[in-house]
Amino acid sequence: MEPILKARGLTKRYGKVTALNDCDFELMPGEILAVIGDNGAGKSTLIKAISGAVVPDEGQIWLDGQEVAFRTPIEARAAGIETVYQTLAMSPALSIADNMFMGRELRAPGIMGSLFRKLDRPRMEKFAREKLTELGLMTIQNINQAVETLSGGQRQGVAVARAAAFGSKVVILDEPTAALGVKESRRVLELIRDVKNRGIPIILISHNMPHVFEIADRIHIHRLGRRLCVIKPQDYSMSDAVAFMTGAKLPEGVTEVA
């Protein structure tokens, strides 16, 4: 089977810091791929390079076998890659509904929409409310509330709901449950399964080992700016994975490159 998303030799330097160092990457169709690694290992930089938020200094990326070079997240989105960034990417002063539809707003039917380009607020609000309800985020009282008035966890929920609702080829989630409560985290995991069941592959960055081992089909272990190895959760224990990613042990057939 061909990978749906493939990268080779990705390198990204920030001044003196090399955040990505000749990194390879593969995502198979329909799978949930977890990416784990220490803080600062370069996981976020990797998915930013894939989703167009950062232009890598070197390296190539293929989507569905076609070489691609996204220069902006908009291009990646147009190609069907939907991302929840660690920093969430919300406009604080705008409402939840506005944020969910940012960049792909719905227009009112008829002449108001086509000529006067009026937004279809009721439809957007209804859709946003549904998606949040699915995530159990109905504790949000008002869909027109500004995002800045939400708690950290609520904000994260909104971002995840947005990506899940719109992703068509690949959905990327950078630590989607970091700020979430037990209940909300569970909902996100269920949502990830839903997305997978729709046939869409998912990249999940997480520090939560139980979650990762529960849900991932394969685990990409990232260390010092590059892929150390890819393991199947059935083949290794959580403590092995932790040992690999922290450098306590080396997986077979890999010699660490300092």
């Binding site: 920093t87 919300m90 406009s91 705008l94 960049g103 937004l119 209940k183 080992m209 979650h211």
Partner: protein, 358 residues
């Protein structure tokens, strides 16, 4: 081996079964005061409106001639140009930018419209179109420098302000085109200076134009995707970019549209002043005047917050203060002094009401 994972989460997530799904709702006593507070909070242009009403009442009490229809319509016509420049300034400020060149674009556009007609013998209507296009181009130049080269708006427009103003003087050779010549040969240039006179009160077309522009922009900013993108770009440009807003494109469009508004203001200037003068004070002061209107109107200079209707009230507040103080009879230096004090006072009241309204 992954079964340990499942059991781990399972070990406590069992507690989730039957978790409450109810929305945490807090029912407040909905007193009239609460409702008012809520409304103030939801309507950013309400506060400047209140300040305006108070100012009207105060000056009405102080100066006999204030509450005459003629005086009020004079105030409106005096703020017509600032109001249109304020539309330009509003969209720029909403993107967390600032445009110091608005006045220069307006004056240069008016000079271009006049000179193209009189120097090259182009029909006035065509000159107007050319002037509007050139004004838009000047704005777009700002936008390109800001969006593509990522230069700070303040410094870019500080530069283009000087450049355009100098170009304006050089091109026009400091020559004024006289009102009577325009009226004879190119009446279209003076279109916005015409008026209707219901019941003897003169209201310039320019006033209607300003109100129409404010209304249109209020709609565009509130009810179209583009408007939302303008807000998002100003709110947090990095986030907007990640969320899929083509922020660079939006910025170029915003500055170009601002340029168009300025060129319209330039056209209105001809109607209003009769003549075409490269030395019009708007070139020097238009930026400060429009920014003042924007800020008194409650629009945040940090972008993303505020409404264009607030700007309109802001412009009106300044107009009312200026006219009111003149009628009360202060000397120009004291007027200048008091307007400074009143600007601060208006914003302080705004801030205070917002705080009380929580």
């Amino acid at each position: 081996m992954s079964n340990d994972a499942r059991s781990v989460s399972g070990s406590y997530e069992a507690g989730l079964k039957g978790a409450a799904e109810a929305v945490a709702e807090f029912h407040e006593p909905e007193s009239a005061l609460k409702k008012l507070q809520h409304w103030l909070h939801q309507t950013p242009s309400a506060v400047p409106m209140i300040v305006l009403v108070v100012a009207l009442l105060v000056f009405g009490a102080l100066a006999d001639n204030f509450f005459k229809a003629g005086t009020l319509s004079t105030i409106l016509q005096q703020i017509a140009i600032v109001g249109i420049l304020g539309c330009a300034q509003t969209i720029v400020v909403l993107t967390a930018g600032i445009d110091l060149s608005v006045g220069a674009i307006a004056v240069f556009s008016s000079v271009l419209m006049g000179q193209i007609t009189f120097r090259y013998g182009v029909p006035a209507e065509l000159s107007i179109v050319i002037g509007l296009i050139l004004g838009t181009a000047m704005g777009a130049l700002n936008g390109i420098l800001i969006a593509r080269l990522r230069l700070p708006p303040f410094i870019v427009t500080l530069g283009t302000w000087q450049i355009l103003l100098a170009a304006n003087f050089i091109y026009s050779a400091n020559e004024t085109i006289r009102s009577s010549d325009i009226a004879e040969q190119a009446a279209a240039l003076q279109f916005w200076g015409y008026s209707i006179n219901p019941g003897g009160v003169k209201i310039l077309y320019a006033v209607f134009l300003m109100i129409a522009l404010v209304a249109i922009m209020a709609y565009v900013l509130r009810h179209t995707a583009w408007g939302r993108h303008v807000y998002a770009t100003g709110d947090d440009p990095a986030a907007a970019e990640l969320a899929g807003v083509p922020t660079k494109k939006v910025l170029v469009q915003v500055y170009a549209l601002a340029g168009l508004f300025c060129a319209i203001a330039g056209w209105v200037m001809i109607g209003r002043f009769g003549s075409v003068s490269p030395t019009a004070s708007t070139g020097q002061l238009g930026n400060i005047q429009s920014i003042t209107a924007v800020v008194i109107g409650g629009i945040s200079l940090f972008g993303g917050r505020g409404s264009i209707v607030g700007m309109f009230f802001g412009a009106l507040i300044v107009g009312v203060f200026e006219m009111g103080l003149r009628l009360v009879g202060t000397d120009p230096q004291w007027t200048f002094f008091l307007i400074g004090a009143l600007i601060i006072f208006a914003v302080a009241v705004d801030q205070w009401i917002r705080k009380v309204a929580g």
